[in-house]
Symmetry: C2
DNA sequence: CTTGATGATCTAGCAACGCTAGAATATGGA
DNA sequence: TCCATATTCTAGCGTTGCTAGATCATCAAG
């Protein structure tokens, strides 16, 4: 009797459709357009059904954010693995990070700007978030001893560059210069402590 | 016949009260609590009066943000001027920036996080915003040639550190280490190009 | 002083929001 | 066939930003 299983699958699939629809609307029209009524319309169920899946609207945004962390982790890992040499890896990860943020502004917004209860750097941190952090740490590690601190600061620089550029507070034209600055700050200007990998 | 002038003064004073009230509510209870009805209540006028001063709610938030930029400019200037030596000035400005952001989260949110039409790095940039940028540039200038690029990157790092720590994504305990890292990245680890001031 | 126009202010209400109580419907075992 | 359970829906509450149209105060002209 796979009845319960079938119901469970259908339920899981519906939940996935909610998240996918929310993400699609947000990326096309912004998060303001993602209303419970609109989502209910698009998945062809009434509004209360959404609340049997998620506690409230924020929980839906958070679910999209978690998807975003999976995606960015994959993007950063690819950027690192396709690079030759640790310095190039560092640089390509920076480029990949900014490309991700600029290319999917709504997704990035869900991950970092909108009020969320997702926590980092704590015991209950979700694995998706830890994985993203680890992907950043991987390319930083060859250049330092205190990996955690450097990764956090590195990440802060990337996030700051993203937000300030996205809100028009720093000059887009100077992006490459700023990136070079960050890379040099971590990898050093000359050949680093040990020779190139 | 100062009638028109008196009316103008009263109007300006009422506008100031709106902004001050919005800021006060936001800092005490968060921006969600800043509703048009609430503001109308507190200034003892009806709601449409607010719309004779500001186009919409966002414009009120923006007005508070501009006040915030004046405040942070003052804080950064003080931190710099009270420091002995350019490296200490840089370090104290970093501390002042983070103290400002952490001490007035709602104000900082209005300045950087909430959707605003305030622009930077453009012709129509408001003087308050330029002044804040200049205050950061002042302490960076002794350590580099391309002041604009370094200031933008410096600012991005500060903003990133602020946001990631405020949203619980990096460890508060490691703040001092991260700050040291940023300061060293700009000022250099040993004595900088020229001797200390 | 009265009148009429102008501008300032208010009352009342619209449409949309997140969310939920309670009715209606479908499901599956006795 | 009947009932209990679980699922889904209808309808609506309270709140939001914002606005049309009524009301009121002000002041120059007659």
């Amino acid at each position: 009797m796979g009845i319960t299983e079938r119901k469970g699958r259908e339920r899981a699939e519906r939940e996935h459709r909610i998240v996918a629809t929310a993400r699609a609307i947000a990326e096309r029209e912004g998060w303001d357009a993602v209303t419970i009524r609109r989502l209910a319309d698009e998945i062809e169920y009434s509004q209360p059904v959404l609340y049997s899946h998620f506690e409230n609207r924020d929980a839906i945004v958070a679910a999209v954010a978690v998807e975003g962390f999976k995606d960015i982790t994959a993007a950063l890992r690819t950027a690192a693995s396709e690079s030759i040499g640790r310095r190039k890896a560092l640089e390509n990860v920076v480029l990949a990070y900014l490309a991700f943020a600029m290319g999917r502004p709504a997704l990035y917004e869900a991950m970092f700007v909108l009020p969320t209860k997702l926590r980092f750097a704590e015991a209950d941190t979700r694995p998706e978030l830890q994985a993203a952090f680890a992907a950043l740490a991987a390319v930083v590690k060859p250049f330092c001893t205190d990996v955690a601190v450097v990764t956090e600061t590195f990440w802060a620089a990337l996030h700051g560059l993203t937000e300030l550029e996205r809100s028009g507070r720093i000059r887009p034209a100077a992006r490459a210069d700023r990136i070079a600055l960050v890379v040099r700050a971590i990898a050093g200007s000359g050949s680093s402590a040990r020779a190139r990998g």
